[in-house]
Amino acid sequence: MISTDSTHTKNIIVTDNLTKTVQTPQGELIILEAISLTIAAGESIAIVGASGSGKSTLLALLAGLDTATYGQIIIAGQHLTTMTEDQRAKLRTTTIGFVFQSFHLLPNLTALENVMLPLELTGVKQAKAIALALLDRVGLSARIQHTPKHLSGGEQQRVAIARAFVGQPKILFADEPTGNLDSTTGAQIIDLLFDLNQTHHTTLILVTHDRQLSARCQRTLTLSAGKCL
């Protein structure tokens, strides 16, 4: 059992015996097995490993996008595993930003509306001004009224990054953020990600296959067959 007392406050993420299994017709399949880790605030970590090693699942569990089978997760001093879906959603608005490999922008909203969304969900009054500033920062001030359908992959990922940072989250999760982009665009996106990370003093946790990218992080966590090496 882990506690949320003052000794852990500098650790923004703590997991204990984190396990994820799924039921298949052939029996129980272990995706993640007994992962225990601590991540300090402001740290940047790359999670690497072969396909199917459980990287994306670990990231989703840490962000509260999925539920663990066993074990505990404490994010910014709060027990994530005992929370309801609504409580986890609330925690994400204040603490967590997420960048997906396949961007996942809301198709019926413009670039500006997509970026404004997290702020509007928390009731921030100057949502539009903040979102505009951030879109300008990612170089998309000319494309604010475009819907995702009319943006290139790189542009969509910039919007997604702007959306992830707009709420000034304490932790940013990125799941293979360059996986769907060409190398030049990918490099630009990574520069942007690290640049914003430095500006906002965010804890960055990203999943990647890219060695260069993982080398830019302070720590690398390697997963193999659901276990932390």
Binding site: E85, L106, P118, E120, L121
Partner: protein, 826 residues
């Protein structure tokens, strides 16, 4: 490529994965409901026809004032038709110094061909399938009472002595002639000559009865028509009881309409479900294209899948429909006096053909649309504009739909109203909705987040929103039409036979006997209707133009010209009479006015202000037409073609006619009435009322049954419409969750979106249903249309609640699902 094997494999995998649930449900509802409706209506129609035949004692009868040529009967017999005949004449019986004018009916051996005679002995009613033997006479109770005779005694008719064998209580074809004033005496045709009552110049009435197979009857009917003389009339089962025929016709129209509506909404559900099927199979299709599958091969592959699916569901749907109909049979047969007949094979096959046709006509256009799109295009959801072939396919689907509707309804007007108005209003409302949604976009930024996100769902996909709206609207229209029509038909039928509808007619009451009759009503606590004086007379001229010079247009006119009419007078307009032209007389006005029944006036070309000449007991008098009236012939109350102002008929002797209701436990009190008023002709119509009531009950039952099918189809359509955007909705909900939206906001968004859809659909449905109902009531059901304000208010409210609640239920699981699961499925 082994198409069949691959097709079967794909269908099987989809079945196991639950991908086909919605499509199969929509198909099963369409097929099973249309099979069950088709089977039920087929069986009921045939059974009702048999029932109605019992009311004229045959399938077809000819009424004539002269004997038919022997060749007519020979023709009928050569076409395997059974024949029987009856000859009626008036005869005065005299016993114990009492005189009584009776109506004698001499019947042949096989009378009645349909239905049965009823006699009573020692208080028990006995069913008889043949008339009296030679030498025997069956008589009305009144004959015994008036002539002071008892059973076993003898009575002389003409020159022949008969033994009074039985008390005669009912003859099947008596209902056709309620107001026969004289009491009945039934004898065998063999004795007719011995009575010497048939002499040249005798006033006789002949009825010839025929029964047999429908084809032979139709052939005989066609052969007869051109040969009929003016005094000869064909009576068929349909015309014999207008109140039953009317109810049957309306019920039939209702069933047709309900099955058409179920068909339309099932077709919409099938179209939406196939659209979803194609949507779900898009990656699969693209992948097959990448693997080298040609467009032709893909087309064949999907076509076979749909054929397999169509055949499978058609087979199961037909079986389910037949089973449902079979389960209903015992319930239905308890409403009918005759056994339910077996349904025809055509009714069985209709559901099967329908299922396959519906599926293919809905599934083919999207397949053709994929023809000119690259594999990458399919992956990217890029669809080419509809090719000409797909438009042709849609046109073909529409034509097929129209012909299916026409085929199942056999009613061109009904099909045209439904399809024409339906299509036209769809196009108009689609255009209006498009404009509304475009305009709504401008207001969105001013709204709060929940409203903006909720309404953005509607404005961002206008085509899908309009499709969904029209689907919900058509669903509500269907429910509105079926509920409105059901209620109005049932109300009409209930009004036709209220709980205490008169079950006895009393005729021939002398003016001096009226106080006795009224005292009897009072003492026995019997509910009586208005009492009308009756003078028997003929209409002989209109504006001095003798009626005989006018060529008859139909039976009604023929009857009015040749038969005596019951003439009456009244201060007030009787209940259930509706003044359609002119004014009702006020008390001080002079005598000499007449109010004529509307249809008879139209047939005889009688107008307001015309002078009609009547003949009563060789005396003539005239009256000016001051008004025209519409009558309700179904109300079981005395109704009159000619109603005079008070004072017009004072010069003529009259008797009185009335009707009253006697409950079963009060029946014994009738004996005291008969004793006090032995001359009164009392007619009991309990059997007829019971028969009408059972038929109406059966119709009400089946109308309700059909309504349940409409509800099933409606829910299926709702789920199909909801499923069209389900994936997008799930995806967007999951993403909003990722960025912190709580369930309160998500529910609020959904409620806004669904309430808006519900309100718009509800309002549209009210507008279109009122338009359709007014047309259907006027042209198909001939019922007066009054907008149902309750339904106008309740429909949008119901629509908002129904769509919001069902929408919430179907999306409930989404709110408790971890977002990653949904995002991974995308």
């Amino acid at each position: 490529m082994n198409y069949w094997r691959l097709s079967w494999l794909m269908v099987w995998r989809d079945l196991r994965a639950g991908e086909l649930n919605l499509l199969i449900s929509a198909l099963l509802i369409a097929i099973s409901s249309s099979t069950a409706i088709s089977l039920c209506t087929d069986r009921l129609q045939q059974s009702f026809q048999n029932n109605a035949a019992e009311l004229i004692a045959a399938d077809l009868a000819i009424s004539s004032s002269s004997a038919l040529a022997p060749t007519w009967l020979e023709y009928a017999q050569s076409h395997a038709l059974n024949t029987a005949q009856a000859i009626e004449f008036s005869s005065v019986l005299m016993e114990h110094e009492e005189l009584l004018l009776t109506s004698v009916k001499a019947v042949s051996q096989h009378y009645p061909l349909k239905g049965a005679l009823k006699t009573s002995a020692h208080g028990q009613e006995i069913t008889q399938y043949q008339g009296p033997q030679a030498g025997m006479a069956w008589v009305d109770q009144r004959v015994l009472n008036t002539l002071k005779l008892s059973l076993g005694a003898s009575v002389t008719i003409g020159d022949k002595v008969f033994i009074l064998e039985k008390i005669f209580t009912n003859e099947p074809d008596r209902q056709g002639n309620f107001f026969r004033f004289a009491p009945r005496v039934l004898i065998n045709e063999q004795d007719l000559n011995a009575t010497h009552s048939v002499q040249p110049g005798s006033h006789l009435h002949y009825t010839y009865y025929f029964s047999g197979k429908q084809d032979a009857l139709q052939l005989f009917n066609q052969w007869l028509l051109p040969q009929l003389q003016p005094d000869q009339k064909i009576i068929n089962a349909h015309d014999s009881r207008p109140e039953i025929a009317n109810a049957l016709d309306k019920a039939h129209d209702y069933l047709q309409l309900a099955s058409l509506l179920i068909l339309i909404i099932s077709a919409a559900a099938i179209a939406l479900a196939t659209q979803r099927y194609h949507e779900r199979h898009r990656p699969h299709t693209a992948l097959l294209r990448c693997l080298g599958c040609s467009q032709h091969e893909l087309f064949c592959l999907f076509l076979m899948q749909f054929c397999l699916l169509g055949m499978l569901t058609s087979f199961i749907g037909t079986a389910v429909g037949a089973l449902l109909q079979q389960l209903m049979s015992p319930l239905l047969s308890q409403y009918l006096s005759t056994d339910l007949v077996s349904p025809s094979w055509l009714s069985f096959s209709s559901g099967f053909i329908l299922g396959l046709s519906l599926l293919l006509s809905c599934a083919l256009p999207p397949l053709l649309q994929l023809k000119h799109v690259s594999a990458l295009g399919i992956f990217r959801h890029e669809l080419a504009p509809l090719p000409t072939t797909a438009w042709l396919s849609y046109a073909l689907a529409l034509t097929l739909m129209a012909s299916l509707l026409w085929q199942s309804s056999h009613n061109l007007a009904l099909t045209a109203i439904l399809l024409g108005i339906g299509l036209l209003s769809t196009l108009i409302f689609a255009a209006l909705l498009w404009l509304l949604l475009i305009q709504l976009r401008h207001f969105l930024p001013k709204l709060s987040l929940a409203y903006r996100l909720g309404l953005q769902h509607l404005t961002h996909y206008p085509a899908l929103t309009i499709g969904q709206l029209l689907a919900f609207t058509s669903l509500l229209i269907t429910l509105n039409l079926s509920v409105s029509l059901r209620n109005d038909l049932l109300t009409e039928w209930q009004q036709q036979l209220p709980t205490h509808a008169a079950n006895h007619f009393a005729m021939n009451i002398f003016p001096t006997q009226l106080p006795v009759y009224e005292a009897w009503l009072h003492n026995e606590e019997v509910i009586g209707n208005a009492v009308y004086p009756i003078v028997r007379g003929r209409l002989i001229a209109i504006n001095d133009q003798p009626l005989t010079r006018l060529a008859p247009k139909n039976n009604l006119e023929e009857n009015a010209k040749h038969r005596e009419l019951s003439l009456t007078w009244s201060h007030d307009l009787p209940d259930d009479n509706l003044l359609s032209a002119g004014t009702w007389w006020s008390a001080p006005e002079a005598a000499g006015l007449v109010s004529v029944e509307k249809k008879l006036a139209a047939n005889l070309d009688i107008k307001l202000g015309d002078i009609l000449t009547f003949s009563v007991t060789q005396q003539r008098f005239t009256a000016r037409v001051s008004s025209l009236r519409a009558l309700n012939w179904n109300n079981m109350k005395p109704n009159f073609y000619m109603l005079f102002s008070p004072g017009t008929l004072n010069a003529f002797p009259s008797t009185y006619l009335t009707s009253f209701y006697v409950a079963e436990h009060q029946k014994t009190s009738l004996t005291s009435l008969i004793k006090q008023l032995p001359n009164v002709n009392l007619i009991e119509i309990d059997q007829l009322l019971k028969q009408i009531k059972t038929i109406l009950d059966a119709l009400s039952y089946i109308v309700d049954f059909i309504l349940y099918f409409a509800w099933f189809a409606a829910i299926c359509l709702f789920l199909a419409a909801l499923s069209v955007r389900l994936r997008t909705r799930q995806y967007e909900t999951a993403l909003l969750r990722v960025f912190g939206a709580d369930s309160h906001l998500l529910k609020h968004m959904q409620n806004i979106e669904f309430s808006c859809l519900g309100a718009l659909s509800g309002l549209l449905a009210v507008a279109v249903s009122n338009l359709l109902l007014s047309l259907l009531y006027r042209y198909t059901f001939t019922i007066d249309y009054h907008p149902n304000w309750f339904l106008c208010i309740i429909t949008p409210c119901f629509s908002v609640i129904f769509i919001t609640v069902l929408g919430n239920i179907s999306l409930h699981t989404l709110l408790n699902k971890a977002p990653l699961q949904t995002l991974r499925e995308e």
